[in-house]
Symmetry: C3
Subunit: 145 residues, 3 copies
């Protein structure tokens, strides 16, 4: 059994923004030489998410609009009382980003067969920036034979 790991770095856009990282993951699978097993994808941040869905430009805007409505940035959140927290006083007010991150999740596991991820025709692996712009890191591990 082999284990292969690489990090992907993504320079994200402002606010809520979706980034298709499928091609990055495919390059890592090829570099691993592993044909059968599975892939673990972990975003290393608390204000991002990893989702597997259709990467269609109008839908990515729907995601942005939906989360603005579901978890309004300007609502009152305790986490945003920076002056009451023991932290650098220039921390961003991003409680809404943390909540969206929890709802969407930051890890995915994907079946690998004969060198190909077993995803459906319309499925892409998407990094969702929820508090951009930033440099973000996504760990990708391939494990198998």
């Amino acid at each position: 059994m082999k284990i292969y790991h690489e990090d992907i770095t993504v320079k994200t856009n402002k606010g809520i923004h979706l980034h298709d990282i499928s091609d990055h993951v495919k390059v890592i699978i090829k570099a691993s030489g592993i044909k059968n097993g599975f892939i673990t994808v972990n975003s290393k941040h608390t204000t991002t998410a990893i989702t597997i869905n259709e990467f269609e430009s109008r839908l990515t805007d729907d995601v942005r609009l939906f989360f603005h409505k579901l978890i309004p940035e300007n609502d009152k959140y305790l986490h945003n009382d920076i002056h009451l927290r023991d932290c650098p006083q220039d921390e961003p007010e991003n409680a809404h980003s943390h909540l969206a991150s929890m709802l969407l999740g930051n890890t995915e596991s994907i079946i690998l067969q004969e060198g190909k991820m077993q995803l459906g025709k319309w499925q892409s692996i998407i990094l969702i920036e929820l508090d951009g712009s930033r440099d973000r890191t996504v760990g990708v591990q391939v494990m198998g034979v």
Copy 2:
């Protein structure tokens, strides 16, 4: 180490509907001959979800009603402007289904010990159809010894 893979096919019901696929997964575990390791479950669609929860008939209706309220089908979504997209013009208007799919997630990993999934008494593996009815495919992989 062994790897065993099978697809489950489910003919789903109309609209939002929950399907218990636990027994399908158990048959695949038995066929694999693997006793210890883990199971990866991936739905191959962008308007479905996989969840692990209680399969109780009244709760499955609560799920349907909750998502109708949280992400109303008839709200305005950019993805539903089919005429502005470069796609077949008979595509379904299902942005609400994509958003629910992202919130719920499409992958699960489950610990396998002595031939049994380490799930709690009330936990079932559930395929949630969010834009039915359709023929849906769920990939199930068992990996271990």
Copy 3:
């Protein structure tokens, strides 16, 4: 390849409450002797969740307040008509807890490298109690070399 498994038991607090279980998981990783591979975390309950996010005390209160608003406990849910269900008549009225559990998810997979989980600086593994207080069990498996 080695597989190591342990259950974590957590006595949770009342209502919605977050419990950082990162240190429990680290102890299990050390006990496993496994350096490279991955960790599977499964909560065995249908009214809990596992999330990976920042464990900051004011944010944990935001989570509680957010879910009270998103899925109000006192709304009408079919699952709460205990008298119409074939179950013990002292079952709790907790449909809101099940719905939150589905949105947040109950499983996580985490990359392990050189004996360390590949989590970001602010990421903790958090058990979210959604219908406490109870004794809760979380399965943790380490698999690798």
